[in-house]
C-alpha cells in the first residue's frame, strides 16, 4: 500500500471557525511562514507527477493552420461573434462580445481572415459558436491591437477578456468589483497548482515573477486591500525564492504544504487567513479575494501594456514524447499541441484537458485550447482510475469523510443519490461539495462518489436549490 491516500490528520477538529479572526499578521514574514501542519483539514496526497515539465522552459507553440476560437470560454453569458465570414481581423481585435455583466469579450489571437462562424464543441462537451480564422502566413506575435483606455482598471480587465486562468474561467473583472458591504482586506494569489502533472503556473512564477508581483499590486489597488499574499505549495521552492527576490516588503510569499486541494478557493483562504468562507456567502465575506497567478500576469499585461488575453501557457505532459509548457494561442486545436510534443506514447490511456483530479476527459482532440485550459495530460493507462463496474458496496471505512475538505460525508450522499433520495442528499449538504474529487480518489471500493454527488447537486439545483 502506498502512503499517498492517507488523509491528513485533523488539526482543527470540532469548533466552528466561521468567526475566527485572521491569523496574527506578526508571524507572517517574507522569510516565509510555514504552517505547523497541513494548511487545511482533509485532502489527499496524490503523486504530483510534475517532474517531466517542472524544469522545462516555457516555449511558444507555433501558429496553427486554422484557429477555432469559441465564443464561450468563460463562466457566464456566451459572447456573440461581431465579425463575419471573410472579414480581416488583427491580432487582439475583438471578435466576440456580449452586454451581460458576467462575461468577457473574445479577441482574435492572430492576424488573418475569418473563414467561417462554426458550431464547435469545447472540452467541457458544450457546443458553442466559434470563429474560425485562417492566420496570415507572416505573423508578428509581438504586435497586437491594444485594448481601449477605460475609466477604471476593472473595465480594462474586462476589455482584455480576462477570466480566471486556473481553470474555473470566471470573468476576472466581476471578482474585482466586490460587494460594497464586503470590503477586501487581503488579496491572495493562488500559486498552489495542487493538481498533479500541471506546471504552467509554476513556470510562470519562475520565469515571470515580476509580472506576477505587478499583477498582485494592481489587484490590491483595484480592490483597496492592504495585504497581498502569494500562496505557493512547498514543492515549488524555486518559484517561491524567485517571487521573494522581486516581491519587496509589501507582497508576502507564503509557502504552503503540498496537499490537494490546497488551491481550492475556500481551502486556500482557510490556509492563509484561518477564516472559513461561510456557507452561501462569497469568499469576500472573509475579506479575501483569490486570483490565480496566471490571471495576475494577464491583469498586469492588460493594465501596463493594454494587452488583451489571446494566449495562455498550457502544460502538455504525461505519456507524450517531449513534454513541455507552451504559450499557446487560444483556439489552437488540442491535436496540434499533442503533435508538437511528438505525439502520445503507446501507454497513454486517456487525454485530459486540465489536471487529472478536476479536468475533463478529451473526447475529441480537435477541440481548441480555451482560456481555462491549463494543460493537456495524456494519462498513462496504469494511472487512469479503473472503470467502475456495477454498484460497488460502501464498506464504511470513513476514508472519504476524512479526505473531504468540506467535512462532508460523501459515502452517505452517495447512498442517497443512488436511491434518488434528493432530500437525503440535501440534508447531508451535498450542495456544499466543491467537487475536488478526493472522495472518489480514496474510495477503496471505487464508488464513484463525487460523480454521485454531482448528480445530486444537479437534481437539487434543477428543483430550485441555490449553491
Amino acid at each position: 500500500m502506498n502512503r499517498t491516500f492517507r488523509p491528513v490528520k485533523r488539526l482543527w477538529e470540532g469548533k466552528a471557525r466561521v468567526k475566527v479572526e485572521s491569523r496574527d499578521k506578526s508571524d507572517t514574514t517574507n522569510e516565509g511562514l510555514r504552517l505547523p501542519d497541513a494548511g487545511f483539514r482533509g485532502g489527499i496526497h496524490p503523486p504530483t507527477s510534475k517532474d517531466a515539465t517542472r524544469g522545462v522552459q516555457i516555449a511558444r507553440a507555433p501558429v496553427p493552420e486554422t484557429l477555432v476560437v469559441p465564443m464561450s470560454q468563460h463562466l457566464g453569458a456566451p459572447c456573440a461573434p461581431v465579425v463575419e465570414r471573410g472579414d480581416r481581423v488583427e491580432r487582439g481585435q475583438v471578435i466576440g462580445d456580449v452586454e451581460a455583466m458576467v462575461s468577457a469579450p473574445v479577441h482574435s489571437p492572430v492576424a488573418g481572415e475569418v473563414k467561417a462562424i462554426v458550431d464547435q464543441m469545447t472540452f467541457s462537451g458544450q457546443r458553442t459558436k466559434a470563429v474560425q480564422i485562417a492566420p496570415d502566413p507572416e505573423q508578428d506575435l509581438d504586435a497586437f491591437v491594444p485594448i481601449p483606455e477605460a475609466d477604471t482598471l476593472q473595465d480594462m480587465v474586462r476589455a482584455a477578456g480576462i477570466v480566471g486562468l486556473g481553470g474555473a474561467a470566471f470573468p476576472a473583472h466581476v471578482k474585482l468589483r466586490p460587494p460594497k458591504d464586503m470590503p477586501i482586506s487581503t488579496v491572495i494569489l493562488n500559486g498552489c497548482e495542487c493538481e498533479p502533472y500541471l506546471t504552467c503556473d509554476h513556470r510562470q512564477m519562475l520565469e515571470l515573477p515580476e509580472r506576477v508581483v505587478a499583477g498582485a499590486r494592481h489587484i490590491r489597488g483595484m480592490v483597496g486591500a492592504d495585504r497581498v499574499v502569494i500562496g505557493v505549495e512547498d514543492n515549488k521552492e524555486d518559484a517561491i525564492s524567485a517571487l521573494r527576490n522581486v516581491a519587496g516588503s509589501d507582497v508576502e510569499v507564503m509557502s504552503l504544504p503540498t496537499h490537494y486541494p490546497q488551491g481550492a478557493e475556500k481551502q486556500l483562504i482557510w490556509a492563509v487567513l484561518g477564516a472559513e468562507v461561510p456557507h452561501g456567502k462569497l469568499p469576500a465575506a472573509t475579506g479575501a479575494l483569490v486570483h490565480n497567478v496566471g490571471t495576475a500576469i494577464a491583469i498586469a499585461d492588460a493594465v501596463d501594456r493594454r494587452r488583451p488575453l489571446v494566449e495562455r501557457v498550457v502544460t502538455v505532459t504525461g505519456a507524450v514524447v517531449r513534454p513541455g509548457n507552451f504559450v499557446t494561442l487560444l483556439g489552437t486545436p488540442a491535436a496540434d499541441l499533442i503533435d508538437l510534443v511528438g505525439g502520445v506514447l503507446p501507454e497513454a490511456g486517456r487525454v485530459i484537458a486540465g489536471g487529472p483530479m478536476t479536468g475533463q476527459g478529451v473526447a475529441d482532440t480537435t477541440c481548441p485550447v480555451v482560456k481555462g485550459t491549463s494543460g493537456l495530460v495524456a494519462l498513462p493507462q496504469g494511472v487512469v482510475a479503473p472503470a467502475v463496474v456495477g454498484d460497488q458496496p460502501c464498506i464504511r471505512c470513513g476514508r472519504c469523510s476524512e479526505a473531504c475538505p468540506m467535512f462532508l460525508e460523501p459515502y452517505a450522499i452517495g447512498i442517497y443519490a443512488n436511491r434518488r433520495d434528493w432530500d437525503g442528499t440535501e440534508r447531508f449538504r451535498a450542495l456544499d461539495c466543491i467537487e475536488c474529487g478526493c472522495c472518489s480518489y480514496v474510495c477503496p471500493t471505487r464508488r464513484p462518489l463525487v460523480q454521485l454527488i454531482r448528480r445530486a447537486k444537479g437534481a437539487l439545483m434543477s428543483r430550485g436549490a441555490k449553491l
Binding site: 502512503r3 485533523r10 472559513e276 476527459g361 495524456a378 458496496p393
Partner: protein
C-alpha cells in the same frame, strides 16, 4: 494529425477524477490477513493439526458460503474482495482449537449467510459476521466448548484425544475462568495473576486459537495502525477502558487486557469498518463502550468472558453513535440536521 492522436479520438466520457489511490478493498483485507499471520502460524506451530483443521474448516466454509450465496442469488461474485477470507480466519481464531469441525462449519455459515449476505452483503451488515458466527456456536454448544482440552504436545496429539481421556490432573479451564473462580471465592485459591502475564503474552494453550499469544496480536494490530488501515482509537479506547475498569474493580489490569479475547477483539473485531462508527470521536465512544461492557460482563456476568457480547452489543449502537457525532460542515456553524 498523427496516427497516435487519431487512435485516441474516441469518446472518453469519463468524468473527473481520472486518477485513484492504488489501495483497494482487497489490499485492505489482505493486510488484515497478513497482520493475523504471525498469531495464526504460531497457533499452528503449537497446536498442530487441530489448528489446521479448524482454520481450513472455517475459511473454506466461509468462502463456500459466500460463493454459493452469490451463485444462488445471481449476484456478482464477491469472493475476491477478501472479506469472506477475513471472516473465516477471524472465526477460526475466535474459537477453541478443539471445536468440532461441524460446529465450525455451522459458525462460518451463520457468519456469512445470516450475518452478512442476508443483510445485503459487504457493507450492509449491522453486526460483525465473525462474532455472530462465534456467538451462535458458543451459545448453542456451550457445554461442549467449555471443556477446553489442553494439549499433550505433538503435531497430531490433540486430534485423537477423546473428550474423556482423563486430563483432570491438568486443568482445562481458561485462565479467566480460574481468575473468576478465585475472585468468587474471595481469593481462597490464591491464583497468581502476575505469573500468567508471560504465558498469556507468548504461549497460551488454554483458550481460543487466536488467544495463543497476546504479543503477536498486538504486533499485528500495531502494523495495521501504522499502515493507517485501522484507527488507533478503537484498540486504545477498548484496551484502556478494560485496564482502567478492571483496576477500579480491584483486579489486575494487565492480566485482564491480556487474558481472553480482549486483544483479538480490540484490534481485529471492533475495528471492522462496516460495524464501527464513521467519526473519530464516535469510534472512541464505541471502543470505550466495548471495554465497559466487556469488563462488566467479566466481573458481574454469568460467564468468565464477554468480549463477543460486548462488541456485538456496541455494533448495534453504531447507527445511534453515528447520529450523535455528525460532523460539522465547512462554513457552517452547527452540525448538520
Amino acid at each position: 494529425m498523427t496516427e497516435t492522436v487519431r487512435a485516441l479520438d474516441r469518446p472518453a466520457l469519463a468524468s473527473s477524477p481520472h486518477i485513484a489511490a492504488k489501495e483497494n478493498v482487497t489490499h485492505i483485507m489482505l493486510w488484515v490477513v497478513a497482520a493475523l499471520a504471525p498469531v495464526t502460524v504460531w497457533g499452528i506451530w503449537n497446536m498442530g493439526m487441530v489448528a489446521v483443521v479448524l482454520l481450513a474448516t472455517c475459511i473454506g466454509s466461509a468462502l463456500a458460503t459466500e460463493a454459493g450465496w452469490n451463485l444462488i442469488a445471481r449476484r456478482p461474485q464477491t469472493l475476491w474482495d477478501g472479506s469472506a477470507l477475513v471472516t473465516g480466519l477471524l472465526l477460526a481464531l475466535s474459537l477453541p482449537p478443539r471445536t468440532p469441525w461441524w460446529m465450525a462449519m455451522i459458525g462460518a455459515f451463520v457468519a456469512i449467510a445470516l450475518a452478512k449476505m442476508l443483510f445485503g452483503g459487504l457493507g450492509w451488515n449491522l453486526f460483525n459476521p465473525a462474532l455472530v458466527g462465534r456467538g451462535i456456536v458458543v451459545i448453542s454448544w456451550a457445554g461442549v466448548l467449555s471443556e477446553v482440552k489442553p494439549f499433550a504436545g505433538g503435531w497430531f496429539s490433540a486430534l485423537d484425544v477423546p473428550a474423556t481421556a482423563g486430563y483432570d490432573a491438568i486443568t482445562g479451564a481458561t485462565r479467566l475462568a480460574l481468575e473468576a473462580a478465585d475472585r468468587a471465592a474471595g481469593g481462597a485459591y490464591a491464583y497468581d495473576l502476575a505469573a500468567q502475564y508471560q504465558p498469556l503474552l507468548v504461549r497460551n494453550l488454554q483458550g481460543s486459537l487466536g488467544e495463543i499469544s497476546a504479543a503477536l496480536l498486538i504486533l499485528g494490530g500495531a502494523v495495521l495502525v501504522v499502515k493507517g488501515i485501522i484507527d488507533w482509537r478503537i484498540p486504545v479506547g477498548y484496551v484502556g477502558t478494560v485496564a482502567v475498569l478492571s483496576w477500579a474493580f480491584g483486579s489486575d489490569p494487565i492480566f485482564h487486557v491480556l487474558a481472553g479475547g480482549v486483544m483479538l477483539g480490540a484490534f481485529f473485531m471492533a475495528t471492522d469498518y462496516v460495524t464501527s462508527p464513521m467519526s473519530k470521536n464516535g469510534r472512541l465512544v464505541f471502543a470505550c463502550g466495548c471495554g465497559l461492557i466487556n469488563v462488566v460482563g467479566r466481573f458481574f456476568g454469568p460467564l468468565p468472558e464477554a468480549t463477543t457480547w460486548a462488541i456485538l452489543f456496541m455494533n448495534g449502537l453504531v447507527p445511534l453513535i453515528d447520529r450523535a457525532f455528525k460532523p460539522r460542515t465547512f462554513g457552517w456553524e452547527g452540525r448538520r440536521g
